[in-house]
Symmetry: C2
């Protein structure tokens, strides 16, 4: 008769009996098809209630360690000797989440926006309102493209501020542009070749690559992506940022825009992905109309994100699909659930439609305009008007500084790191071979402490 | 001299001048390289201030419709005749978001949980607390795998309730399991073949397909997936639900689990994806330990979601990667941002670590246990113990009813639809050829109104 010591642990009697028997089956001490004692007999032997033994037996049957036969009782299952086979290697669990590069005093290479500027109290109030007043809506599953109210708010915003007139059904909401790029590859397919700008946002190549989509690049001239290189790349999808190219800051002029649209109209399978990631932060003049607003042929896929204009910790982006792609999306990919929770979709819808988004953007624009002026002033003073040139300063939250120096880009960067200053060069953003040293440095000023900025500039000046 | 009527619209003078000139450049009325009037001359002619004309000219230069030459003034850009080229087809924008199938009185085919049970007031309170007290944390970007607190809370939960002991660094948080499947395909690659269960959750095949991953299926016997078919499929990844297979309800017994693990240990590239989607709702006995808890060889990828156990409108799921895959993930895919907003990650972390998740699950289990008893009672009464059999009723929120009927599955379904009753058959969940008519129907009772349930059963009984 099975006998176990049930006094040792704090576990319930049922659990101890279950674990002891399971161990005996696993180890082979109880062999396959052996008859188990009856519930009554085991209960008597262990001095527990029959119900306790019954619970343990039931659980062991559920998990497949015992089986029962009507009127004959319980038997040991044949679990083979597989359990006793050695696993292929010992488990050590040596995993490290990669840490962020150590913080420096000045990081001009980071394009994060200052988080203090997120309109937290308004957002928190709207979220509380949504939670209090919209309980029923919040618990209804969103359409695959996002909740109606948010798509309507985005549609209205696009009409007022980007000159784009679309149907809310064309707007697809998702948890970040990276997610939407994946969705686009699923929609358009991996037979198409995707072309990005060179220099450009190198992460895009990694994203297309990890989605199994062939990705090539085309060079730029002073108007933006070169149509001849786009053609010779064999790509049918051009992924560009015409309002504000990163990192050169180029704003694509009308002529090149029409040329690019004409390229797209030549063939049914050509599309332009317009990544409008920081158009809200154009600091001079009126915003440049989106390429999508000039597209009478329905070939521009417009993309934008609130993770840039609000805070990177809110993961909401959207894309506007041309009619045929929108219909294909609903036909082919509507089984995918929308990746943004309804709580945040309703909060953002209220934030936009009640005018807070516009206010926020205007406030940020005024703030960054002042900051930019102050930064330009410091540079002028420190450099006394010599040995530098400022390029492309109007269109977003970074500018490019060209230094007159004998150091190579790499040496200058290394020497600045020693002084706790990190700076990226335009040549860092080239895929393939970078051109000869340009001495052009990115100055992201969105996240820079203006008070100590003169210190950084003086340190750079001394080095040159 | 250019003359425009500036009295017609409500737009600002600057905007009207800008729009009129832009239109003239586009239409060719102003021809390429034509010299524009000086700002002063045009201002006089239109009777506006020079600053107004300057604004309009600056904007037109930004957009590339004009260019300026120092000391010579402004000229019309050459935008070619591309703008006047016809787009390839007229835009009609006929897009319809697919509607949900019209609601019926009874939909036994839907497995949604009752949304009234979401612990809204606790969730709302925690969210308010997070918003009030955690402002700083909320605005710090989360690690690619999710915020530390949430991964720790999930790790603790898994140790207590699923017998799985892991390092929080192995836990990857994402916006829904569908998103995590895509991430897994990116991690493991599309050279591997993925095998799902047949019958099974057919959406999985669509998901693998849309991610470009080859997907095959293997049949089941009464213990779950057949190892012989898994072997002959050539797959190296087995995607299964051992705790509660959908739709058959099979709980994989220990013997098959060990057999499956042994299969995985045979080759370095084999993995098992354990989709534990409704293990929380096991209504009889103790929960079945997860397959991952038996895996000494680090080959099980464990997956679960809060969208099922809480509400489908909150998109938070997670997977637990074996050590080698976790390291590969951080090496290869850490450039992807976490897709869940920090607001909800912190709220969920508090919800779990303060014990509310456990309480919620226990409450739901009691509730569904009662509901299930009531449902079984109604079925017994209506059918008077005849012409039906109930299969697999213990393990989750659905059971399978086998009817004694001469109708084909298809005919019975059609006749029931006429009576506003939708029911799915097990044969609906087969890929490839379904077996002969089994007359087995799924009864999802998670979303069924118990008060009118007898009406539905009587209608079915009458039909048979």
């Amino acid at each position: 008769m099975l006998t176990y010591d049930l006094t040792g642990t704090k576990d319930s009697l049922y659990k101890q009996i279950y674990q002891n028997i399971r161990e005996d089956v696993r180890s082979g001490k109880l062999s396959a098809h052996e008859k188990m004692p009856s519930k009554r007999a085991l209960a008597q032997n262990l001095n527990v209630s029959i119900v306790t033994v019954e619970h343990a037996y039931d659980q062991l049957v559920s998990e497949g360690y015992l089986y029962s036969r009507a009127r004959r009782g319980y038997f040991v299952s044949d679990i083979g000797d597989l359990e006793r086979r050695k696993p292929p290697k010992p488990v050590s669990r040596d995993i490290r989440i990669p840490e962020e590069a150590p913080g420096l005093l000045f990081d001009f290479s980071s394009n994060r926006t200052e988080r203090e500027h997120f309109p937290f109290s308004v957002w928190a109030r709207l979220m509380r309102e949504v939670i209090s007043l919209r309980e029923q809506d919040l618990l209804v599953k969103a359409p695959c493209s996002g909740v109606d109210e948010l798509r309507q708010a985005i549609t209205d915003h696009l009409a007022s501020f980007r000159g784009i007139n679309v149907d809310p059904a064309q707007v697809i909401v998702g948890a970040g542009t990276e997610y939407l790029y994946s969705l686009l590859v699923k929609l358009i397919g991996t037979d198409s070749i995707y072309c990005i700008e060179n220099p450009g946002y190198r992460k895009l190549m990694k994203i297309y690559d990890s989605n199994g989509a062939p990705c090539v690049y085309a060079g730029l001239d002073e108007q933006g992506i070169r149509i001849d290189q786009l053609r010779s790349s064999g790509a049918s999808i051009a992924h560009i940022s015409p309002t504000h190219h990163f990192p050169t800051g180029i704003t694509m002029p009308a002529a090149r825009r029409y040329e690019l649209l004409a390229w797209a109209y030549e063939s049914q399978d050509r599309y332009i992905i317009e990544d409008d990631y920081d158009s809200e932060f154009r600091l001079s003049g009126k915003p440049i109309p989106a390429l999508a607003s000039m597209d009478a042929g329905d070939r521009v896929i417009y993309m934008n994100t609130f993770s840039k204009s609000l805070t990177s910790t809110i993961r909401i982006s959207y894309m506007v699909l041309p009619e045929n792609l929108a219909n294909l999306f609903y036909k082919k990919l509507s089984f995918y659930s929308c990746t943004v929770s309804t709580f945040e979709q309703y909060t953002l819808a209220a934030f936009i439609s009640q005018g807070y988004f516009e206010k926020h953007i205007n406030r940020m624009r005024r703030y960054y305009r002042k900051k930019r002026e102050k930064i330009l002033e410091v540079i002028r003073e420190v450099f006394d008007g010599k040995d530098y040139r400022i390029l492309e300063k109007d269109s977003g939250l970074h500018m490019i500084l060209e230094f007159n120096t004998n150091f190579s880009d790499r040496d200058l960067k290394a020497k600045l790191e020693e002084k706790q200053i990190r700076i990226a060069t335009v040549s860092d953003y080239y895929m393939g071979e970078a051109p000869e040293e340009t001495h052009q440095f990115l100055l992201n000023y969105s996240n820079i402490d203006i008070e100590s900025f003169p210190y950084a500039m003086k340190a750079i000046r001394e080095l040159l």
